[in-house]
Subunit: 114 residues, 2 copies
DNA sequence: TTAGTATATAACAATTTGCTTATATATACA
DNA sequence: TGTATATATAAGCAAATTGTTATATACTAA
């Protein structure tokens, strides 16, 4: 049994969470960078509540955590979460998504907002 | 970039497929054994159409293939499929599900049926 | 204190999902 | 050939999902 072994029910639950393009991209980005809600709104071009709801789902299983910094709330990966090792094995197979953050920076939106 | 790199849209699509307890278990079992529909019906205790519909989804993306053997149709993993390497990285983290087949054998249902 | 910004939550509509039952098709065998 | 078995497909339904708009909350700064 691998160190990352996870029971099948929980694995299915995590895969379902990751099986959404928006959330999968979020988690991939968060694995390398903290981000706030407004950045994701800009990246995914959907409403702010939609982003908050995706983040809520990720937070509910403990995969991400939030931290207020003044006016903003920053999300980050909770690398201590029991499901993180399993998740990481998935993330490691995905192409880097950091170019999305770089595009924000070039437009000045990363600095302005967060 | 890993050899198994997969574009993010496709990854999300595959993860969504695997993010169902029934399908995830099916694929895990099929990775080691060919199975026919009636075995899955027995294992999962759901209707035969429900099993067929799950298998259909897996077949539609090419992850499994079917082969008629007389009265029965056997499903197996399509290890040549473009999404198999990605899928395998997920499967390798899951606990073995072969005990479910052994339970069938003990009840005589594996031999009788297939 | 008041206005503006960032975020969360509630309520709702449209879509998707996963099951069921009914039925069609294909094979096996008496 | 006629009947039984294995599977697929169609149709219908309830629950879940994902987006939206409206609104509440919390912080910042004038």
């Amino acid at each position: 049994m691998l160190k990352t072994a996870i029971d099948l029910d929980r694995a299915a639950m995590i895969l379902k969470l990751l099986g959404d393009k928006t959330r999968l991209t979020m988690v991939k980005i968060l694995d390398n960078h903290d981000c706030c809600v407004c950045e994701f709104v800009e990246i995914f071009k959907v409403s702010q509540p939609s982003i908050s709801q995706h983040l809520r789902k990720l937070k509910d299983v403990g995969l991400v955590k939030e931290e207020r910094r003044g006016q903003w709330i920053f999300y980050s990966i909770n690398k201590n979460n029991e499901h993180y090792p399993f998740t990481l094995q998935v993330l490691n197979q995905l192409p880097d998504q950091d170019y999305k953050l770089r595009e924000l920076e070039e437009k000045g939106n990363r600095i302005t907002c967060c």
